[in-house]
């Protein structure tokens, strides 16, 4: 897989030959970079919301899949109604940071037929409780028909016993993900700002293991590979392990149900 560069609008010409994700903050930026965009190399556009009505109208000029970035989900979640119709025209995802109140945005986004990607760092116990509620919502609510990442890929991985890591699911695999800051610095994603991608590619997990981090005994090391140990390597993972556990249990339950069903028994 080739490297994908997540770039700001003013770097379009610099990365013209590369596969890109384009960050656009408003209609002015869009107008400026539109002529230089190579649609063939454009994976998707990240659009920051809420925006003005002029900005929202400009979205019609983009045909690529859209990733709406909702920075303040606990407050701004109702604005998702302004973008819902776009889901009928192209693939649409809402990226939501795991901050207090994020669950409301997830519920609304899914109710509006949008896929969701959670941007998670090192959640505290209150956020773990909110995450657990959203895992239950994702697993058991009949009206959820869209994916919520990282839950969805992890569930599939546990179910099919196929290896995948959070770094890949979250588009932060240091092997092929590059986030280019406004200043042109290349890193993995905003939460790794200032850090060298090669360090994560080559040494980060080795150092965690060598340093006897709790990762050594963790059941979920294969999927996590130290994802939650940045920036604070001493972050305690008890909470996030419960999230992994919920998804693994659900995958197992689903498997058992299918076995029972195939045997002609009622689950």
């Amino acid at each position: 897989m080739s490297v994908v560069y997540n770039i700001p609008a003013n770097h379009v010409t610099v990365y013209r030959e590369k596969r890109i994700v384009l960050r656009i903050r408003n209609s002015v930026e869009l107008q400026q970079c539109l002529p230089a965009i190579d649609q063939h190399n454009l994976a998707y556009v990240q659009w920051f919301i809420p925006g003005s009505s002029e900005d929202n109208a400009a979205l019609q000029q983009i045909e690529a899949p859209l990733d709406l970035v909702l920075s303040n989900p606990g407050v701004d979640f109702p604005c998702l109604y302004d973008y819902a119709a776009l889901a009928d025209e192209r693939p649409l995802r809402v990226s939501i940071p795991v901050v207090p109140g994020f669950g409301k945005a997830v519920k609304l986004a899914v109710s509006l037929n949008c896929a969701v990607k959670l941007e998670v760092a090192q959640p505290d116990p209150a956020l773990i409780a909110e995450l657990a509620e959203i895992v239950r919502f994702y697993l058991h609510q009949a009206t959820v028909t869209q994916t919520i990442e990282f839950f969805h890929s992890l569930l599939g991985s546990f179910f099919r016993q196929e290896p995948i890591t959070l770094w890949e699911i979250q588009e932060e695999n240091p092997v092929y993900a590059r986030y280019v800051t406004e200043q042109g610095e290349e890193t993995i994603s905003p939460r790794f700002s200032g850090a060298n991608p090669e360090f994560f590619e080559e040494r980060f997990q080795e150092e965690l293991i060598a340093g006897q981090a709790e990762c050594c005994q963790c059941d979920f090391l294969a999927q996590c590979q130290g994802y939650f140990k940045w920036p604070d390597r001493n972050y305690r993972c008890d909470g996030v392990k419960t999230i992994f556990q919920m998804l693994r249990d659900a995958a197992l339950e689903l498997k058992n149900d299918l076995v029972t069903h195939d045997a002609g028994l009622e689950p």
Binding site: Q60, F77, P78, C79, Y81, A84, A85, D88, E89, K104, K107, L108, V110, S111, L112, N113, Q141, A142, T143, V144, T145, H261, E266
Partner: protein
Amino acid sequence: MRNPLSLILLPTLKCNADCEYCFEQKTNDYLTLDQLSSLMCKVLDYMEEKDISASTIYWQGGEIMTLPPQWFESAFNIIRDAAKSRGRWVQHSLQSNMIGYSSKWNPIISKMFGNSVGTSMDFPNRYRKLLNGSAADYDALWAKNVGAARQAGIEVTAIAVPNAETVKVGAERFYQHFVEQLGITDFQVNTPFPGGEPNETKENLSLDIDQLGQFYVDLAQIWLQHGYRNNVRIGPFDALLDYFTEGAACLPCIWRQNCADEFICIDAKGAVAQCDCWVTSYPEYWFGNLFQADSLGELLQTSKARKRFQERPKQLMQQGECIDCEYLALCHGGCPVRTYTLRNTLTEKDPYCELYQTLFQHMEKGSRQISSARH
């Protein structure tokens, strides 16, 4: 290309009936064919501007059949030619009370409306009356005309609004009446609301929500047991079953994400509003007048009234109750016109919330049983 445009068009505000609970202010206004051309020109401009390839026009009144069939013959040609010249596609859907129906309507119903008519009837009928006539007179004429239309091969669907006596006679009798006695196998049941000028009937239109909810659940159950396997369709149960079994459905307008993004209504005087109730009875909620506006796009873009409708779901989410509802994806706060006519505000959730939740739960459970029986 964007989603199709849904346009509710009222080419006449005249009616040949005198239904006590009607929300419309009747007048003798109707669209001339020249006005229709001008109106369609602006609608097609809007479709081009928004890159909308197709539109469905829902023809309603007043009562549609107070205009002659020849008017529709001309209207059909005007719209077809105008749409073709712009590379757009327009289809038509007819809603009529069928009181003015005769065989003269058959050719245009076949040609323009796919040989299908949507009509309305309640059981027992208490409020639908002929001008200077009774509910019984209305029933008799309606049944005769619907029978004749069906005899001519026209598919007739119906909308029914429950009243106190509907709830009293119960779901089984109601189902038998429509499906077995009238032979109508595609109908929907709408909740009542007291739109338009108040009167004594409208004051007594509200039903006990628990009792009405039970009626809906009973009817849904009868349909699940006897109807759906025999190709009987009852809205909104059929859409809910599709939703819970297939994950997608064409839900009724009251439960769409935001009706303000999906359709508009234009009346015979050119008034543009959210739907037929708003355009005929609440001028303060008009978006503007299409005959006076330069373009439909600008009219919609600048309308403060429309903004209020667009903002409604957002305001409901901010208020907090709907966002925690497990059926948010199905309802989004419900119908603005039911809220307004029963609560005198736009920014509350639909007063039938409790009924909807009961029904959603019932259909979710019913769909699970059907899914497990299928596998």
